[in-house]
Symmetry: C2
Subunit: 116 residues, 2 copies
């Protein structure tokens, strides 16, 4: 471990942390606001926030007294870029599936026309 990509993916491997990130896409939020939707103690939520902060997926402001948390884009972007070659892979597979379905629908249509 230790590399940024591994740290990013490890931080994303938890539904609570993903829900926190998802909340932050609509804007900054305080720790209390982030904790509100979860049936979890504040220390438990704080622990998740620390994992996200260590992974640099979020940062916490120092200026305001409520110290809002906000998204940091860079690590998520790196993770998405790592996935790009796989995107090509599954798109090719979808294209092949598409060709196959078109092929069988043509064959079915031809058989149907012959019957008439």
């Amino acid at each position: 471990m230790g590399d940024q990509l591994s740290t990013t993916f490890a931080a994303l491997a938890d539904p609570t942390r993903r829900a926190i990130l998802s909340r932050l896409t609509s804007g900054e939020a305080s720790v209390t606001e982030l904790a509100a939707p979860f049936e979890m103690s504040l220390p438990a939520v704080t622990k998740h926030l620390k994992v996200l902060q260590r992974a640099r997926l979020i940062s916490q402001g120092r200026e305001a007294q409520w110290r809002p948390c906000k998204l940091s884009a860079a690590p998520m972007r790196e993770a998405a870029e790592w996935m790009e070659p796989y995107r090509r892979h599954w798109e090719q597979r979808l294209d092949r599936l598409d060709d196959y379905l078109r092929d069988i629908s043509h064959k079915t249509a031809r058989r149907f026309r012959k019957k008439k």
Copy 2:
């Protein structure tokens, strides 16, 4: 844990497993072929392959005697789809950075023209 997305991200949180997946984007490979680039025992590599198989990121053929491993596209696709809202987030940030840089370069150009 237990949900597919968490299992996918946990499986991706390791450089050896990511390297194995990367090798498989160029086609099927046997366990021995996959193990070759790593300074690792075959059982250690097999352990990583089992994590990838449990996460359904790869599947292993039964037909041929060499039982080739190949990529399964669906879980990676689901993970990439989960990341889409964040893509919009960092693209907006890049747009803002772009606007800012254009703005200061205009201001600098104007100041430069005034001097002349």
